[in-house]
């Protein structure tokens, strides 16, 4: 076999491997969406998304999951907001204020990588023990704090990767106009703005889908979430509880709840893409 034939063969194999992995991933995605549509759609009703659980909801009687829908939206929105507000300054500090290759910066980044990988149940357990020590009961606030801690590493590492893509010369020309580090940082943020939405999206996705972190810290309640210091229902937990029920009706509602959760994420993804594409006007 000649050299060119060998190279073309390798090219062909690489292409097939890529296509196969593409197909399997898209296939799994469709399988998931198909399953929740197939199993959940028959149980999805206006009542389901507009009412709180009535007595006997978990044995198949009337009511809905509005408490969990609102709880999840509140929890994910608040913790994503907090994680962004705390995470962006950390990333900026590590890239603009500290010499980015310094020992300190590298240690911090390593630490965030470790935090990124710690399972959420560990965050939940630690937050829970602190809450017990402080005498705070499971509440929306407890959940928000736990999920914020869980999502900060996502925001920091994503923004850090974005800042790394900025050419050093852009930083230099900005500095050479006599800007302070803060003014330069603002310019860099402007430059990576579309990417910041991706960071927020990733954080929101992790926040709204987390079960283990909220299990011990947020509790569960059939009432609509009104106060930060009260236990609050979340969709993933609602799905978990309903799936554990032996009643087929309730199991069906679990899939309907999953459908609602997927829909919320879909809406957030679309909104983020629209916002991000509007920011691309000045992108280099």
């Amino acid at each position: 076999m000649s050299n060119i034939q060998r190279r073309l063969r390798k090219e062909k194999i690489a292409k097939i491997v890529m296509q196969l992995s593409g197909i399997s991933i898209t296939g799994s995605l469709f399988l998931i969406i198909g399953t929740i549509l197939y199993k959940g759609l028959p149980y999805l009703s206006w009542e389901m998304i507009s009412q709180t659980p009535k007595g006997g909801f978990y044995i198949g009687k009337e009511g809905g999951i509005l408490n969990a829908i609102l709880g999840s939206i509140y929890l994910a929105t608040l913790s994503t907001l907090l994680a962004t507000l705390i995470g962006i300054p950390i990333a900026i500090y590590l890239d603009v204020y500290v010499k980015s290759k310094s020992f300190f910066a590298r240690c911090c980044k390593l630490l965030f990588d470790v935090l990124f990988g710690i399972p959420s149940i560990v965050y939940g357990a630690i937050a829970f023990s602190i809450m017990v020590w402080l005498g705070i009961r499971a509440s929306l606030l407890g959940g928000v704090i736990t999920i914020t801690l869980l999502t900060i590493p996502i925001v920091v590492r994503t923004i850090d990767e974005l800042l790394k893509t900025i050419p050093v010369d852009l930083k230099n020309v900005t500095f050479s106009m006599g800007t302070t580090r803060w003014e330069t940082a603002r310019m860099l943020l402007k430059y990576i703005k579309p990417g910041i939405f991706t960071a927020i999206l990733l954080a929101f996705g992790r926040a709204i889908g987390d079960v283990a972190g909220v299990l011990l810290t947020t509790g569960f309640s059939d009432n609509l979430p009104k106060y930060l210091d009260e236990p609050t229902a979340t969709l993933p937990l609602a799905i978990f509880f309903q799936l554990s029920s032996p009643v087929p009706e309730v199991q069906g509602r679990a899939y309907a709840s999953a459908l609602v959760l997927t829909f919320i994420i879909l809406v957030i993804v679309i909104c983020t893409h629209i916002l991000a594409s509007k920011q691309k006007k000045h992108k280099i």
Binding site: K99, K101, S102, P167, D169, L170, K171, N172, V173, T174, F175, S176, M177, G178, T179, T180, E183, M187, K190, Y191, K193, K281, H282, K283, I284
Partner: protein, 269 residues
Amino acid sequence: MHTYPRFETEETQNITQMALPHIEIKDLNVFIEGQHILKDINLSIPNNSITSIIGPSGCGKTTLLKTLNRLVDDGKGVEIKGSVLVNGEDIYAPHAEVTHIRKKMGLLSQRPFPLPMSIFDNVAYGPRIHGERNKAILKQIVEQQLRNVGLWEEVKERLDASATGLSIGQQQRLCLARGLAVKPEIILGDESTSALDPISTQTIENLLIELKKDYTIVLVTHILRQARRVSDYILFVYNGEIVEFGKTEDVLLNPQNEITKQYVKGFIS
């Protein structure tokens, strides 16, 4: 104490007597991660003229340029000894204010980097951060600087358009206008035409020649023909040391040092 040779031309000696030179470097040594990058640099850069720093790749010419506005500080493991006096003020003095120093020196980088905003805002960015809020004055500054670099007629209809839509040559002129809007005293160019086509290169070169009546200009270039076209003085750096400094025609046509001779003839690059 051992004294290092000072590189001065007759002209700089005269200037020293008349007024303080803009940039004076004394016993400068720069180490990066333990490597001795610049060795015993002593130099007076003449006012209102173009000085080109030439030398083979990796000889320290860009480091020398970045030492002038303290951009070199930002690297890892950088150690600087000696002093750089700008208008008599040592920019490496312990309490020297780095933003103030950098404002005095406009930098024109290798590739144009327009800020992610409109053409108008790019030029107005510098004056704005330095406190100019008056819209009429900002407009005036933008027009004046864009005229200075010969870009006004080309962009006056689309000042609100994104700066990234300009051609690369126009972008480099915009970056020059943006730098000038901060009212620097010195222009530093780091191979500023290396990404440009021949016509844009010529435009930038002519602009620099035009601008030297108001500014002191220091350029790093690896193109000898360019150094010959634009500069009044040439500084030849080799292995982190100044080998020769003098008037352009003297250095290029009648080099005193053997290494300079070889470099000019193209034997080392």
